[in-house]
Subunit: 269 residues, 3 copies
């Protein structure tokens, strides 16, 4: 394994600021002002505005693939300027700075014990701290200091409580699985929260009022325009139109109900 | 402070090319062809096409947070291929390459004396130089050479004149402040040019035909959907809808008139 | 020329994933997991979904400006999970990883002999390999290993056949050139496939039903709103509205027919 000099670590940025606004740039400048050798890496700035649940899905889908040497800065922060805390989190080999709104708890998952520190020592902040842009005034300089090797314990006291998002889990009733769409990607693929382990084979997918009996392994297996079910790259049930856009075709999006019925159960109904 | 090897400096890019076109990539390749160790950093490529005033606002909002070691390349250049000059600018510890269209003068501000050089020596350019893409043919290679430590005085003669944008300034009449919206961010917040120093407390905000009497410190202080006034992270008056989009709600955008009336003055009217 | 340490090479990313999805981030993490010192560089993630022809145009327009030290990873891959191959390509000093769908053959051009290797040895892949996301499971780790100096011949056997896109070429009949729009940039400029070498001077441009007799060298030469013809930065005929958007104005886009008639021929008709 190639080693990374401490002050050259990758600092990733995930925000809901959009690509057009100067807020992202101000944060980048703020990090580089503390550590000009930090390696900045955009993840996305297109989390839908203030959508903490979307941020949670995004982080759980993206961060597990990163090496532990990276530091992830997440600013999806509808509570900025209120008493909500800013947290430094270490868990499963990943390190994050994030607001205490639950955006990171899906990443960590149940049953694991993260190390969490409340970012409280204003010595590492930009002064004066605004009430509306902690990304620039707190997250960025703290990330800069951490990228230089600052001991996270100097940031503030350990935290033992934090906000946890209630992530919708699928439920199973009489062998029928009831879940929902939790993400729509740029191809219009509708990705559900029903994981492979809940599937029987063969099974019938119902998404809103549409029934799908055709399963494929990959998009290229069916003809252009075919509506199919498959396993997403996350291992959950996905509904797709081959070479097309299922979300537009079905006029469905996040929260659309998805139901999986084993063929044997369906036949009896 | 960590030092940065001269040939590893950060070179930022700000353009109106959009994210989808190959023009941004051609510029990145052009810089790396001269200095493969330059650290490229996207600021934005979504300045509205040819909108020099927007670029000026963007740069003034973003660049002050960067360390002096960075070199900022700005290509918002409706005059490309005409006799407009390309300038190298040093001011207040910041270094830029930008077309001579005033996009950088708001950053420098009044009363400061920047060092300005007219980019004229074609030795540092890519040949042949096209008439429509100086970003690729002049800005990129010149930035590459500067990132390797080229003395900027070799780029061309000192400039003593340059285009200055007329930035709309608020005016005060009978203690009422008249300004305008100068930026709308991706959250739909309407940010005016009226700075904190012009405010009395309490004050009434009128934006177009809507009156706002509620001031908050941060978005989280009011209920979802509340229309409020607050101080933006730039220190100017901002109109926002909490957890919502004020621009869509009020159907207002850049140039919308904003008027601040001290409550004591308002009561007398 | 500054040298680049092998493990610090630039790895560029070109995809159709969009900026909002976690797929781009998962790829970045996958590369950094193998080589945390790789220098990741976004080219674009806005290739229109599954549009291999657009990717081909993009790569041919952008990659020639890069130094040979870079490695270009291209994931526009409608055939993911089928038997289509993944290729490593060296040609003209450029190195790519791309699906075998022809997206890279326009870059290489006719008459050149690229070195092509079929990526086949799963030792360098992430396990398990999904059927829908080879970007994360094959392209990213292979790019990571290549950036560490892996001999490409270890990736798999040499390939002697690959898919070639049929790129529409202009034809000339009775001295009239018939071509088409092959790209529309974010300014709405309509860029054709008719290169400078096919032009006589003066000439009349017809795009769909609109005739243009005005040629300029640069956008700034005409008045705002003027419809003009000029040479694009690629050296091909382009139709533009000065300070405006020709695609919106003419309601035309990719594939619109473009016809160039020498004035002397036109006068005789």
């Amino acid at each position: 394994m190639t080693e990374v000099a401490m002050n050259e670590i990758t600092v990733t940025l995930t925000t809901d600021f959009g690509e057009a606004s100067p807020y992202v740039a101000a944060m980048k400048g703020g990090i580089l002002s503390i550590n000009p050798r930090a390696r900045l890496l955009d993840l996305t700035h297109q989390i839908p505005p203030q959508n903490v649940r979307h941020a949670a899905y995004y982080l759980a889908s993206a961060l597990p693939y990163f090496p532990g040497s990276a530091l992830h800065v997440v600013v999806v922060d509808p509570g900025v300027g209120t008493e909500r805390a800013i947290l430094y989190i270490e868990s499963g080999g990943h390190r994050l700075l994030a607001p205490d709104n639950g955006c990171w708890t899906q990443l960590v998952g149940a049953g694991r014990s993260p190390t969490v520190i409340r970012v409280a020592d204003s010595r590492y902040w930009r002064q004066p701290v605004s009430d509306t842009f902690h990304g620039r005034d707190i997250f960025a300089p703290v990330a800069g200091h951490l990228s230089l090797g600052l001991d996270p314990r100097l940031l503030g006291p350990p935290a033992s409580q934090w906000i946890q998002l209630t992530i919708p889990e699928p439920r199973v009733e009489s062998r029928v699985v009831y879940g929902q769409v939790v993400f729509v990607d740029d191809f219009g693929n509708l990705i559900s929260n029903i994981s492979r382990s809940l599937l029987t084979d063969p099974a019938i997918v119902r998404i809103a009022n549409t029934e799908i009996r055709r399963w494929v392994r990959s998009y290229g297996e069916a003809k252009e325009g075919d509506l199919v079910a498959l396993l997403s790259s996350n291992g959950t049930v996905e509904v797709a139109v081959c070479q097309g856009n299922a979300a537009n075709h079905l006029k469905l999006g996040i929260n659309a109900p998805v139901q999986i019925t084993p063929a044997s159960v369906d036949a009896r109904q």
